[in-house]
């Protein structure tokens, strides 16, 4: 039997003092306040996500370094070859790099959830008489803040190195909103995986396996016209391509409604499929 003996320094002598009036009166609270609503409960979990950012700021590494790295690397690596110059290329690339950055960061939702589960924190939430989806919804609200930080970094960096969106401020904000909507929808895939896979590493590995082909076999980096026919078919049916086209359109001020509809429909499908599956896994865990 491994017995760790840990002294409890500077603690009051609880043995004597504890079963005291303080404890007795603390125990006397049996009246449950009225049950809070779904929104309030979800916001409390969102607050928890903010606290975690405060205490573990390292977790912002991925939302700050990913965007900077991706934007700079791809702009200057491919810009000259693909579009004649980096400043030409970034007009095409930037909306797509914003998409790719955020979609990549969504996978941390699944890892965070899986970590919570392995530490037993989620079991406490599951044992509480609260609105069942609240822990997940709150977590996704917290993630929305992280996505917003990341996309803001991409936009500012883009503007600094020469991105000039014709859609103006409104177009850029609309584009960001569309990315956040899609990211929220995709996150439900990761919540499901977070609940069903064994370790955070397993979630990461599977997410990478899905995300690399999904984001690269799209129109983020190059126009698909130069690709072989079979790959064009793949790229044209990739939801990421439609999202990228729609965001490009919004930020340039000439969005095609077909792309917008694609994004709205695929977001709805993702939520309708993966949110119930997530809740089912959550109930059965």
């Amino acid at each position: 039997m491994t017995t760790t003996t840990e002294p409890t320094p500077d603690m009051p002598d609880v043995s004597d003092g504890l079963v005291s009036d303080k404890l007795r009166s603390a125990l006397a609270v049996r009246e449950r306040p009225p049950r809070p609503g779904a929104l309030s409960t979800s916001l409390t979990f969102g607050w928890r996500a903010m606290l975690k950012i405060k205490h573990v700021p390292e977790q912002l590494f991925d939302v700050t370094m990913f965007p900077i790295m991706f934007t700079l690397l791809f702009t200057y690596l491919f810009g000259g070859a693909l579009a004649g110059s980096p400043s030409e290329y970034i007009q095409f690339l930037l909306p797509g790099i914003a998409v790719q950055t955020i979609i990549f960061i969504t996978m941390y939702t699944g890892m965070g959830l899986n970590t919570d589960i392995s530490k037993g924190v989620f079991d406490r939430f599951r044992s509480l008489p609260i609105w069942r989806p609240a822990p997940m919804v709150g977590m996704l609200l917290g993630d929305a803040v992280r996505f917003l930080i990341a996309v803001t970094i991409v936009m500012i960096l883009g503007l600094i190195i020469g991105y000039r969106p014709d859609g103006g401020f409104v177009g850029v904000v609309a584009g960001i909103a569309l990315i956040l909507l899609f990211a929220f929808s995709v996150s439900w895939i990761w919540t499901l995986l977070g609940l069903t896979l064994r370790t955070p590493e397993a979630v990461l590995n599977l997410a990478m396996t899905v995300l690399f082909p999904l984001t690269f076999a799209s129109n983020i980096f190059v126009d698909p016209d130069t690709m072989p026919g079979w790959l064009q078919t793949v790229v044209d049916n990739n939801p990421i391509s439609h999202l990228t086209s729609a965001v490009r359109g919004l930020m340039a001020g000439d969005v095609a409604s077909s792309d917008l509809i694609w994004v709205f429909v695929s977001s709805a499908v993702l939520i309708l499929v993966f949110a119930p599956l997530t809740m089912r896994a959550y109930a059965r865990k």
Partner: protein, 324 residues
Amino acid sequence: MTDTAIRTEGLVKVFGDNRAVDGVDLIVPRGTVFGLLGPNGAGKTTTIRMLGTLLRPDGGSATVMGHDVVADPDAVRGVVSMTGQYASVDEDLTGTENLVMLCRLLGFSREGARSRSRELLEAFGLGDAADRQIKNYSGGMRRRIDIAASIVVTPELIFLDEPTTGLDPRSRNQVWDIVRALVADGTTVLLTTQYLDEADQLADRIAVIDHGKVIAEGTSSELKSSIGGGALHVRVKDPAERERAESMLVSSLGVEIHRESDPSALSARIDEPARVSAALNDLAAAGIELTDFSLGQPSLDEVFLELTGHPAESDAEAGEEVPA
């Protein structure tokens, strides 16, 4: 309102081809401490996770405070609290933040949540550690914040998961005191433990569980007496007299006498303790002087060994986890 806190009938949970819980019947009276005793992997945790609605049973039925765990899990969640490995606090947050969050989830106002958290931290001797992250708490503090988090609203039933595993004796006594205070206040406690000592100290009734089945149930003394009255130990003053004492004890007690490795000591398993004093009188009458004698109940360790055929702690070593 019934007098029964927990009632299970034929509760079953199967993982693959492992019947982790294999037909558990339990009745836990309200306002008592009930101990589930058994090695790791015996099915204790799985049983409790089903009672706390964290796992759905594969067979049988269970009601907690009159609510069916499958039909009305939400009502069950409204009256129970779980602790420890079943329901952890968030290590990245501080003590205050954890408690405020739980208060808010249970419907306290912002101000109410803050003052309730302060009250709980003070009551559990954690006032100074309120703004420290839980991961920097010692084992004993961690166990106390775990329990504090479970009594934000004092529940009717609390599940305590190995509440003192890995604690030093002083911290252990603190946790025991808290448990006693909870019960005095009317809460029913279901605690799992690998420590027979702990079950002996705290539990009104004990169920011994092994391989997913309840193999014995009763008060600590019922369990002890169920394996035979007790153990008699005597030491004669003069080792040369041991043989004569042995034959006299055989005839007056009618049981097998063991010679201990100590050349002056004898011991016997006693089924009828009432005959012991007469036997000791006989020895005195025959002029055999004793330096020491004792008649005791077997320890729960011996009970466990007798019931399961293996010692309580042997299985525990491999899967032992000591949460900080």
